[in-house]
Structure formats: C-alpha cells, structure tokens
Amino acid sequence: MTALLVFEQILNSLQYGLMLFLLAAGLTLVLGIMDMINLAHGSLYMLGAYIAASVYMATGDFVLAVAGAALGMGVVGLLLEFAVVRHLYHRDHLTQVLATFALILIFNELVRIFWGPQPLLMSVPPALSGPIELLPGLYYPTYRLLIIGVGLVLAVGLFWLVNRTRMGMWVRAGASNREMARAMGVDIRILFRILFALGAALAGIAGAFLGPIFAVQVGMGENVLTTLIVAIVIGGIGSIKGAFVGALMVGFVDTAGRAFLPLLFYHLASPDVASNLGPTLASVLIYVLMAVVLFFRPQGLFPVRT
C-alpha cells in the first residue's frame, strides 16, 4: 500500500463526494425549507443523465450535453413543481412519501417507454479520456479530475448564492423560520419554485457528469437515494454546509471502505472471507457513521433549526 495509492483513493472519494453534494444540496433545501420529503430526487438525477446521454449521442458535444441536462431538468423541475409538488407542501409527510414514491415508479416507467429497457452508454469525451500525470508516477483519469473541478466550482457558487445574495438570504430565512420569513414579505411560492427547479438542475448536472462513469439506466436514482439520505441526515437537514460536509464524509468513508477494508481483511484472514466481508462491510460503514454522528448530534452536524 503506497502513498500514491492512498492519494489516488483520496481523489476518488473527493470526486464521489462532490457529485453526491450536488444531489444533496438540492434535496436538503427542499427538505429544510419546504419541509417536504422528495423521494423522486433520484429520478431527477436519472432523467438528467438520460437527457445528457441523448444530447451527446446526437451532437457529440459534451458541453452541450451538460447544458442540455441542466436546462432540461430545470424546466422539468418547474413543471413538476407546478403540476404536482406544490400541492404537497401543505400535506402531511405521509402523503408526500406516497406521492413522491409514486413519482419514482412513473419516472422509471416513462424513461423505459421512451428510451427502452437497456442502459444508454455514454462515453467520456475523447478529449478527456486518458490520464493526466499529477505527480511523478501518479496518473489520474482526466475526466474525474474535471468532475472534481466542476464540483468545487459549483460548491463555491452555491455557497456564494446562499450566503452572499439576497435570494440566499431569503433561503436561509425560510429555512430557519418559514412563517416569519413569509411575514417579513418573502414570496414563499416563487422562492419554492425556483429552489425546486435549481435542485433539479443540479441533479441533472450530476447525472450528466456521472453518465459516462456509470451506465445510464433505469433505477440509477434509487441506488443513489439511500446514500443521499444518509449524507443529508449526517449533515443536518436544510443546511448547504451540512450537505457539503455530509456528502464528503460519506464519499470518503465509502471509498476508503471499499478500497482498504478488503485489503485489511486480506491480510488478516483468507481471500474468501476478505472477498465476502470486506466489500459489504464497506457499504454498511456509512450507516455506522450515521449512527455515530446521530448519537452525538441527534439533528446532524449543522442543523439549521435548533
């Protein structure tokens, strides 16, 4: 186990964590400010990936694909909010769970109808395929480096938006006390609509970037949803900073777990045990992390409401 390996895995976890953050940011705002549980957030991510893959296949232009996914999902987000979601704000959580769960089924099937049951295969743009030599001897795929870059830029952008703009101020006000914010004249309805659309657009961007790495297929949203929820619970519902920290922690623990736990077991026990216990213990690890965090901070690390 060398320093180069460790460094490469750290980069991997950064990449995974940042993409998770893009998804978590949108969802945590919806949860925190609108007090609405949206299980269909993973479906937005999936749809974004499909749009990106289609645009890329048609035009060969990756930038266009990402832009298409972002814009497309923004529009879908607006439409969805207008048609379905806004009727759910004042309903109880149970109804929200049921309705958004239904949306997952509907989205999955619509995608299957429209694009077919087989996964779409999106390749890394040729200009970005192949590695870059970061340090002597350390090669890292260019594309993943780009993801890290984009993720960081968007993270900074979101922080700026939430902490330095007027709209961000409304968002923070709405998150900590919705009624008061409304009383102070913030138009909650428009705010919600924009927020939801923004969350959808971010999910679309994440989908577009992850498309070439994962296969673009039906159900990709559900797999990511559970990890997402853990990240948000750890970080604290409603907080962008919390989503960032939560997502990075989850990314790190998951990657480190998958990378080093099997090796650890390999040295301690037989390859058979290592191959069985190692990887699956790694997937349980993020839940252990969640339990530990919740034990010390029942409302997550950076709760918005006290």
Binding site: N12, G130, P141, I213
Partner: protein, 390 residues
C-alpha cells in the same frame, strides 16, 4: 345391463388409450430472462436467437406447434421466482428456459426440478448443478461457468504471464470464473478481487491494479459491468501498459458496440465463433443479421441452439412429453448446433471445443472477433466426476 357394459368398455378404452389419445397438442415453453437493466443485452440476445430458431423451425418444436410465454426477471431472484411459479402452476409449461444469471437460476432451480419440469439453460451453468447436486431435469446448452475461464487460464499460462490480477463480481458465476481460471493458470496471482454485482464505478479497483503492477489482468464482468470497467481501464491509461484478458462474455459484440476501439487486440475465449464453418452456423449468422440488423453474440447462438436442442429431443420421443427419461437421453445423446455436433455429459453439461478469438478492426472500420485458434478439444467440465447421475 348392456348400458353398463358399454360404459365399462368406454372407460376401459379411455384408460388404455386415453393418455396417448389426449396426446400433447402443443409444446409450452416458459421463457424467463433478464430483459431490462444492466444485463438486458444478454437476455435480449438469447431471446432473439431463440426466436430466430423457432422461425427456422416454422414455429414448431419436434413437429408440434409451440407456444412461448416470455417473462422479464429484471435480474431479480424474487421476480424470477414469481414468474417461474406462474409458469409451473398456472400455465403448466413443458419446459422452462432463458435465465442469464447464475444467482437467479439457483434461486428457482429446485422449484422447477421438484415439479419434474426440464430446465434447459441457454447460459447460466453454475458449478452447483454440475457436481453432487446435479439433477436429471437440468440440461445446459451453453457451457459450465468455469469453462471459458479455464480456457483463458490455459492460454495465459502458455503465454507465460506472471503475476496476474484477477477480478470478478461477487456471485456464484464470478467465483466459478476465477476458480476455473486458476485451475489451469499456475503462475502467481497479484490479487483476487471480488467486486459487488452490478457495480459500475471501478476507480477503486483500477487504483489497486495500478499499485499492484501485475503483468496481466483477467476480468470476468458480464453486461454493463464489463463495459464500464473496460472504458474506465482505457481512460486510466493502464490499458496499454498492462494487457487485459477476457472470457468471450466480455468481448463480444454487445461490449464492442459500447466500447469500440478500447477492445481492439484483446484475446478472449469462446465455445463458438462467427466463422465456424457448418451450415447451421452460417444460416444462423446470416439470418440473424438480416432479421435483427446486428452481428450476433455468443448469447444469441446459445439461444438459437437451445431451441434446436429441444426440437431434436421432442422429435426423438415422437412428441410424447410424458416420456421424461427418454427425453433426457435424447438430449444427452447430442444434437447438431451452431458449433457442430455437441454431446453432453451425464450431468447435463456439454462436451465441446473452446476457441481463442481476438478482437480485430477490419479495414472498413468494423470491429469484430476473429477466430485465431483452438485452446481445448472435446473439453468436459471439472465437476462431472462428482455427479452420481449416469
């Protein structure tokens, strides 16, 4: 008195001639396969190959009209169980076939065998059904899971590559794969990694490969898993430094279509090839391209052969599907397939050749497999000795 006698005669006649009088009017086949998700390409190919054979047979099996009921198992054992349950109890099928993945097969196999219905596998060949737990109602028309990997292990051994890095998904066929490889590859092993079934991001594993610096990498990863690994492996730059060896599963047309030039030059093993020169194969390859507009994979050939196997056997028993023992004998005796004449061992697995293929780019830009050599001749599976069946 006379009436009573007439009744007795009628009943007697019915009892004697009844079963064959109400003879099989048609053959009902339950086809359950993975038709959606990451493994869908495999199931769809098997289904298309199977249907093409039925077309060539004028929609008859052994001279009887055939009815095929298709179900999608969604690569989920639970869904497969429900489909099989329906086939057995509600539709009362005569044969079941279609399953792609070994773990799915193992979840439904016993239920099928207990109902005394034949399962003809067009793909999955887990070692569990080859040895002590072999079953007379199980026939595999393709290969035993270890076989293609055994062939590749033998090839890598003869090419004297040392320190090989092994990867496979963590499920029965994955374990069978590396067991098979190691049966014939005797050199040192850099690492043996089992990744999660349906895992799609291999950054972690590729980093491990880079750190381990093996002389070669052997991978088993059917469907989307293989596609992703190969793409990511190429992106990491390792593809040109450390050669990749594959079983035919990960180097056939479905993967080539998705991965393109990243696969060119890679050697892989297979029990079947496009160029095999027998009339059945030529007709299959030509018509498959005409009807479906794509080059067939080994999965399609397996689906095609499954139908031929059934046709041959049902014909041999004269359409009487109640003659289970004779049916089995007929199937084991062998049939003419896309690979030539293939016989079977008593455990239901085929005895056949295994070939070496290489992914090649033709002058016109098309990428396909080229038959390069033969690795094994009349190769049996390694578990047949443990099977008590004769």
């Amino acid at each position: 008195m006379l009436a009573r006698l007439a009744w007795l005669v009628a009943l007697g006649g019915l009892a004697v001639f009844g079963p064959s009088a109400i003879a099989q009017r048609s053959v009902k086949i339950g086809f359950v396969s993975t038709l959606s998700g990451g493994g869908a390409a495999l199931g769809i190919d098997i289904r298309d190959g199977f249907n093409l054979a039925l077309r060539h047979l004028n929609n008859q099996i052994g001279g009887l009209p055939v009815e095929v009921i298709v179900a999608d198992d969604q690569q989920n054992p639970d869904v497969a169980r429900q489909a099989v349950e329906r086939f057995l109890r509600r539709d009362r099928v005569d044969f079941i076939t279609g399953i792609v993945f070994s773990n799915i097969l193992l979840a439904v196999g016993d239920t099928i065998f207990e109902s005394k219905v034949f399962y003809i596998s067009p793909n999955a060949g887990p070692s569990e059904y080859a040895g002590e737990q072999c079953n007379p109602f199980f026939i595999n028309a393709a290969w035993q899971n270890d076989n293609l990997h055994e062939a590749m292990g033998h090839y890598v051994q003869t090419r004297r590559f040392e320190n090989v890095f092994l990867l496979a998904p963590n499920y029965p066929a994955g374990r069978d794969a590396l067991t098979g490889f190691k049966r014939f590859y005797k050199g040192s092993i850099a690492a043996e990694v089992y990744f999660r079934l349906n895992q799609l991001d291999f950054a972690v594993e590729i980093a491990q490969i880079r750190a381990a610096r093996p002389k070669a990498v052997y991978l088993f990863a059917p469907g989307a898993m293989g596609i992703n690994f190969i793409k990511q492996y190429a992106d990491s730059g390792l593809r040109l430094q450390i050669p990749l060896f594959l079983p035919g599963f990960s180097a056939d047309q479905d993967t080539i279509r998705a991965v393109g030039s990243a696969l060119v030059g890679v050697f892989n093993s297979s029990h079947w090839a496009l160029e095999l020169a027998n009339p059945i194969n030529q007709r299959f390859v030509d018509d498959f391209q005409k009807v479906y507009g794509r080059i067939p994979t080994l999965y399609a050939a397996q689906g095609y052969d499954t139908a031929l196997l059934l046709d041959n056997a049902v014909r041999a028993v004269g359409g009487d599907l109640t003659k289970k023992e004779e049916l089995r004998r007929a199937m084991l005796a062998g049939f003419n397939s896309t690979r030539g004449f293939v016989r079977f061992s008593p455990n239901g697995f085929p005895i056949q050749n295994y070939y070496l293929r290489q992914v090649t780019q033709l002058p016109n830009g098309e990428i396909r497999n080229r038959l390069v050599g033969t690795i094994f001749t009349n190769h049996r599976d390694a578990y047949v000795q443990k099977c008590p069946l004769k």
